[in-house]
């Protein structure tokens, strides 16, 4: 059974259709990359998968672990192991990173019938995971993303992913705005989590990230549709010729 099965997905925001029939199958253990120019629908796909109510699914289906994903509220998707790394992480003044993550971890554990984590155990976990993405301890106590630099915000996303240990991680342009050192750190964080029990959907505008997170499959998204799928070499091809090679199909 596939981890994620998207069939003929159409989605709209404010009455404008952005996704126009996406098909994609992702199996556990695989890393898929979705590439595409601005406005091709990459972020819409990510938000629809995570359950953002601003988007309306007008047609098609998404199955996650055999279940109807569109039937689940955003928090249920997260508790069932889905994670979205935001392109633009939200600042939440007054809510500390640590408290927020503790609430998230415990909500997920409760959903799975596990006991809540005790304070010591939890602190140990987050310190250890923060190290893997080189996130400074002081940022753990700060309000979520408030006053974080662009790079810190993205690292914070990967840090949260490392703590929550999702089954399917969707990373929406986690590389944008990162310098090469930060990019490497983020990629290392992701690679450390690659396993046979986990799938990744990596959304990116640039091929650069895929030098560090090497995908099993690459899909090119254009005009709300997957116009080509292939292996990792497709990313290289794109890098050389650009999205123009799909120009006619895009139109």
């Amino acid at each position: 059974m596939a981890l994620l099965e998207i069939e003929n997905l159409h989605a709209a925001i404010d009455g404008t259709e952005i996704l126009k029939g996406i098909n994609l199958t992702l199996n556990t253990g695989e890393v898929h990359a979705i590439m595409g120019p601005n406005g091709s629908g990459k972020s819409t796909l990510a938000k629809v998968l995570a359950g953002d109510e601003a988007y309306e699914v007008t047609q098609g289906s998404i199955r996650y672990n055999g279940q109807d994903l569109l039937d689940m509220d955003p928090e249920i998707r997260a508790r069932e192991g889905m994670f979205l790394g935001f392109q633009y992480p939200v600042e939440i003044p007054g809510v500390s990173n640590t408290y927020f993550l503790k609430a998230a971890v415990n909500a997920i554990r409760k959903h799975r019938g596990q006991d809540e984590m005790d304070a010591m155990e939890f602190l140990q976990l987050i310190r250890e995971r923060a190290k893997t993405v080189k996130l400074e301890d002081t940022l753990l106590q700060r309000p979520v993303n408030e006053g974080f630099s662009g790079g810190e915000k993205k690292r914070n996303e990967v840090f949260q992913m490392a703590v929550l240990e999702p089954v399917l991680a969707i990373l929406d342009e986690t590389d944008s705005g990162l310098d090469i050192d930060a990019l490497r750190t983020v990629a290392e964080g992701v690679n450390a989590m690659r396993s046979a029990e986990r799938g990744f959907l990596v959304i990116t505008h640039y091929q650069r990230l895929l030098n560090y997170i090497v995908p099993d499959h690459v899909h090119v998204l254009l005009g709300g549709k997957v116009v080509k799928s292939g292996g990792k070499e497709l990313a290289k091809e794109l890098e050389q010729s650009g999205y123009a090679m799909f120009g006619e199909q895009a139109a």
Binding site: A50, G51, D52, E53, A54, D73, P74, E75, R77, A78, R79, F83, L84, F86, P89, V90, E91, I92, P93, G94, V95, Y99, F100, L101, K102, A103, A104, V105, N106, A107, I108, H111, P143, V144, Q160, L164
Partner: protein
Amino acid sequence: MNQPVESIAEQKSVYLRDFEHAPARDGEPEWLTALRRRGIEAFERRGFPHSKEESWRKTRLSQVANTHYTVQPAAGEASVLAGYRPAVEAGPCLVFLDGRFDAERSRWAELPAGVTAAPLSELDGAAATAVENHLGTLAPVDEHPFAALNTAFVQDVMVIHAARGSLSETPISVVFASSDSEEQAVYPRLLVVVESGAELRVVEQHVGGGANYLSCPVTELVAADGAILDYYRVQEPGDAARQLGTVSTRAGKDAAVRMHTLAAGGQLSRTDIYADLDGTGADVELNGLYLTEGRQFCDHHTWVSHNTEHTTSRQVFKGVLDGRSETVFDGLVKVAEGAQKTDAQQENRNLLMSKMALAHSNPRLEIYADDVKCSHGSTTGQLDKEALFYLRSRGVGPADAKSMLVFAFANEMLEPIKVSGLHDYERGLLFRRLPGDETVREVV
């Protein structure tokens, strides 16, 4: 107007009639009797505010004006005090029921030398002189009808006096409770005098049961040169109560007054806060949090006057509004001519938890000096949808996500509380208003 003269002559308010028929107050000092008379005359002259008066336009007073609230001959049954524990466990806590001192329910604790806390009825010495010198000098007796009524009918005055250079780190608590008597009027009164170089922490609490009563508390806070006063006010009037009160403070040279208020409860509550920065270097901080629900109406008017050079004021008022509740924040910062180098900030933020809630916000500046730094800001909005989605996308349920955001918004006002016990108490009041389950209480 065109009413016959005779009928005006007969127009005596029920309050004046009550005043004239009040039992004799044996042994009351003359100055207090004179002050009472000033109060009733001011009320008689002024009457209840007209709905067209600018500063009273949004406060619906018809119910108050049409009910004859009377002072009860003795304190009534107080269900609110059964099993009641004051917010602050340390230090003395003086309890007043229906405006009368209740020695049995009060808690005594030793105070440092020079610090006095007692009802006027049991007071003598330097503190008694201070009362005579200060009572009624700050409260807007002549302009504010409810301050006038209080002044006319006050039963007893809670007096806290810190002599020159004295210091009390232990907070002094005052609880003004209202009993279950219907349609009674209660006139709580507090006078705090912090003499030169003294430092004091005071907690004033208002609680009441389910009766329809009118409470008109008047508080006067005098901070002499170099004095420091931390004043905390927690208002929890009963569900059917009308509370209309004033808090007035005057800060002398290099004096600091830090005021923190929390308003929760009451059918209608209005607090008018007057701060006069009279001495160079005076510093006044006004922080307020109001939590409303149902059909509550909650109003804060502030009047901050920078009367001389190099004075600083900071105001932050935040509201969390639910149900069909309505709130008013109307704040005036006035910088007098010649009050150069004034630094005044004012901010009002409202969070609407319901589509039916309504927040009025009216920050005002009146500046008559040219070398000043003044700013004001006001925002009213609902919970940030993106933030809610972000939290939910991490597994946090919608009610808990809301709770976290509301808590974060309001908690900023609770963080500066320096009195242990009070901080937890106010957090408790806030927690009761959060929609989520236990999660937020555990993680914050």
